[in-house]
Symmetry: C2
Subunit: 515 residues, 2 copies
């Protein structure tokens, strides 16, 4: 959570004097019912984006956060409130507040949008994930997939479009309630069509859309048929600002406007003209909430994991990765590279362990189950080639255990992030801040984090296993002073541009536009 | 072969007064030995590019065609000639001419470059095909492939680079023999490094490189590690002109120069500045040799196939495709779309056949054998669902039989070209010219041919099976007058821009640069 010092308060560093309406797919709190007592319960939403936005929303008195009701009890809350926001307290534990309640701690207004399963399933399970995710991470084997049939076309029209209209309707209502003039902050690939609807219905609103995942160039978007790709782009161009984590993504977006929609773009000023309006394209690299991360890392559970890791590793070096088992994460090639390094450097036998903390992801999607199998296969191949009775070079643990992850961050000698494509990658930033052994960051050139941290990392080329093997060896044998300098510089960069700065930079820029 | 009328002679329409040195991987003639008599034999090279260039070279007295010796006897000819060109007659049948022989018919000078198998295998079998082919057609499943290991890195350095140096050395020698001032026409993805070498060694030469396969944007090239992608681009930028079949490819090349090499480009004038020089990017859509095609189509063999097809089809409609079994050709989705159309239009049962004339391709490459299997599987699935004792809706014939292909071109009602990516696609142009039933061209937006013929075709979106099914139905039910108008217009376009015009346009432009 953001620190409470006034200087770090995003509101203190900006001139923006407008109410804020946020939209994201998942929200800061979700509701359930205790199966035993039958009472309503509330839990905090997960993920870096939700954490970051919670910090913002809690600081803004007039902010309303619109998100999709994610389960039956969320929908029940939505129905009870009849389209009005509900009030939620965040501290110490999330809970629904009574109307007019005056309780201490951070609070925010939450507008839950009910999206019927018949709409949400195709919206989320067919279009947003996996279609847009795969298109934007360029993960398709284009000779065979995607293969868009009637189901996908229907899922777009009756799922994605309808869900966007429902979300837009809720946003519009919230903007109209404050007189039509508000800052609207839309988030991510679930809602590309919302911006244009909001602008048309609320011409005085200031609308920004933040895209958190990689933005491919025109080739990538041409995988979608013209009506889909044109509508998604046009939806985004309804905003005043379209924002990305990296300059490369911002430029790719402009190239799409230029090549697909034939719009005039200014690559230097990062702007595109559409129907007499200027849409600004901006770059704000997202970051982490350092105090919250440090609180998680310095718990008894994390300390216990650290002792266990130390015992397990002894004098050995630890290569670490922490990822969802997403095909974009490039886990298979990472294991292949580690295996190649061991082939070529027998002196490392029994002296290094590659610990992979992997969170199984989207196992209802074929590509993900196939990828999980490929991960197991690649790890076994290396272990069978090099393992001994006392040493298995690759240690895969399927888990989502933040205490273990933070302990491993503290203990590791090399952190591997070799993603094929990644909007930012916060694991790199978390590890750099928490590490206690001057670890070397081995970082893919295809991550957003590489823009900020690449100078202090060993760069990985995601498709080049031989280069990754060389880079891992370089990282494991880097002189101590160089490791220390680089790790400290990288940590300084992350401290300097933390998540509050990410938020305040956007609000300051929007204030300029509002003038 | 080009017509002999003076007006159509590319030399007659241009001012270029310089000797020409051509480079392509395969040449117009290759040599072998008769296993019985032991005598040397010669045969004509295959493929549209070789046919087109043969026409050019035979018209230019001082042209020398450099190509790679493609077999043992080619290498023997190369050795006998000790680095000098040999003279080859093309009419009526290709043959080696004695030094000073004065024989009638078209002749050309051929310089065969010997490339040892230890160089050629990695150059061609690891880098050019499949790596560059897959990168440029964007066919990789990026989550797992390519996976560049030591073998691929070595294949690049000791195969591709060395083969390019050998070819460049031969080109340089030929240019130096004519005093250093010559037009150098380099061809295709085998030789991206040659242009820069030739420019440095022969600063007075005018160097052009024609890329015949699709050019992806920056994302696509970033699949290759920086040293490879930068060297390939820099090699091309050694030329005065880099030429493509389409404006989209030309623009994608400029975007790569801009985004990957950070060079200033002019998207309107299609030019890029590099180290004080201006490199022009040009668009010349390649075409077919119409008289040669018509000669092939009006043979007894073709007529016999036509009779057999008529008998086989009766009153039924014929949907046709003619392709190599390359994953870029999108054969699987084509069958799926045809099957979906039959699902949704039972009135077409027994009234239409999809004939696929497929030439098995590169079966030593895993992706190609997998793709061949997927083709069989997709066809069987449709036939099992819809076939009867007297009608199998999809008829796959693995063959490379030009007489059958031309008969099918003449008879078909719809020609399907739904490629995922295709530099030009000459099948579309051949069929449009030869067809005798006012066929409808169903043409992918991702082919070069779509630029010229898309207005007279039903456009296919390559990843959208549902749209392809609708488009096939539209094609099969199009009113006769509209079919006729469109086919005639398309044929007129092809007649107007035939392969001679493709050649002469390039030479005229180069003449301007030479002034």
């Amino acid at each position: 959570m953001p620190s409470e010092s006034p200087a770090a308060d995003p509101l203190a560093s900006m001139e923006l004097d407008l109410p804020v309406v946020l939209l994201s797919h998942r929200g800061p709190v979700s509701f359930d019912r205790d199966p035993e007592t039958g009472e309503r319960t509330a839990s905090r939403g997960a993920g870096g984006l939700v954490t970051a936005l919670s910090g913002l929303a809690a600081h803004l008195d007039e902010a309303v956060w619109v998100c999709v009701a994610s389960g039956g009890e969320d929908a029940e809350v939505a129905r009870e409130s009849v389209g009005a926001p509900v009030h939620v307290g965040l501290d110490p534990e999330p809970r629904l507040l009574a109307e007019g309640a005056d309780e201490p701690g951070r609070r925010l207004s939450l507008r839950l949008v009910e999206v019927a399963p018949g709409v949400h399933d195709p919206f989320y399970g067919v279009i947003a994930n996996p279609l847009l995710w795969f298109v934007q991470h360029r993960l398709y084997n284009l000779s065979l997939s995607p293969s868009l049939g009637r189901e996908e076309r229907t899922a777009f029209e009756d799922g994605y479009v309808v869900a966007n209209e429902l979300a837009a309707e809720a946003v519009v209502e919230q903007v109209q309630k404050v007189g039509g003039r508000a800052v609207v902050l839309l988030h991510d690939y679930h809602f590309y069509l919302v911006g244009d609807i909001v602008r048309q219905r609320c011409p005085d609103a200031l609308v920004s859309h933040f895209v958190h995942i990689p933005w491919p160039g025109p080739d990538g978007w041409r995988v979608l048929p013209p009506d889909m790709r044109d509508r998604l782009l046009t939806g985004l161009l309804g905003c005043d600002v379209v924002a990305f984590h990296t300059r490369a993504d911002a430029r790719a977006f402009l190239l799409c406007c230029q090549e697909i929609l034939q719009l005039p773009v200014d690559m230097r000023l990062l702007a595109v003209s559409v129907a007499g309006r200027t849409v600004r394209v901006r770059v704000y690299p997202i970051s982490i909430d350092i105090p919250a991360l440090e609180a998680t890392a310095h718990t008894d559970a994390s300390d216990e994991h650290l002792v266990a890791l130390d015992h397990f590793l002894g004098e050995g070096q630890l290569v670490l990765r922490v990822d969802r088992t997403d095909p974009s994460k490039n886990i298979v090639r990472g294991f292949q590279a580690f295996g190649l390094m061991l082939d070529e450097h027998p002196e490392l036998q029994s002296r290094v362990v590659f610990l992979a903390l992997l969170q199984p992801s989207r196992q209802d999607v074929q590509e993900y189950t196939d990828y999980l199998a490929a991960i197991g296969s690649a790890a076994s191949s290396v272990n069978a080639r090099h393992g001994t009775g006392t040493w298995q070079p690759i240690d895969v643990r399927f888990a989502s255990d933040m205490a273990l992850a933070t302990a491993a961050y503290r203990r590791c000698d090399v952190l591997v992030v070799n993603a094929v494509a990644d909007g930012m990658n916060l694991v790199a930033k978390e590890a750099v801040v928490l590490n206690e052994r001057d670890m070397v960051l081995a970082l893919s050139e295809a991550t957003g984090a590489h823009d900020e941290l690449g100078r202090f990392a060993v760069t990985l080329h995601p498709f080049d296993v031989a280069q990754q093997a060389d880079a891992l060896h370089e990282a494991l044998t880097m002189p101590p002073q160089l490791r220390r300098d680089r790790r400290e510089h990288a940590a300084m960069i992350v401290h300097r541009n933390d998540v509050e700065r990410w938020l305040s930079a956007q609000l300051v820029d929007l204030a300029t536009l509002a003038d």
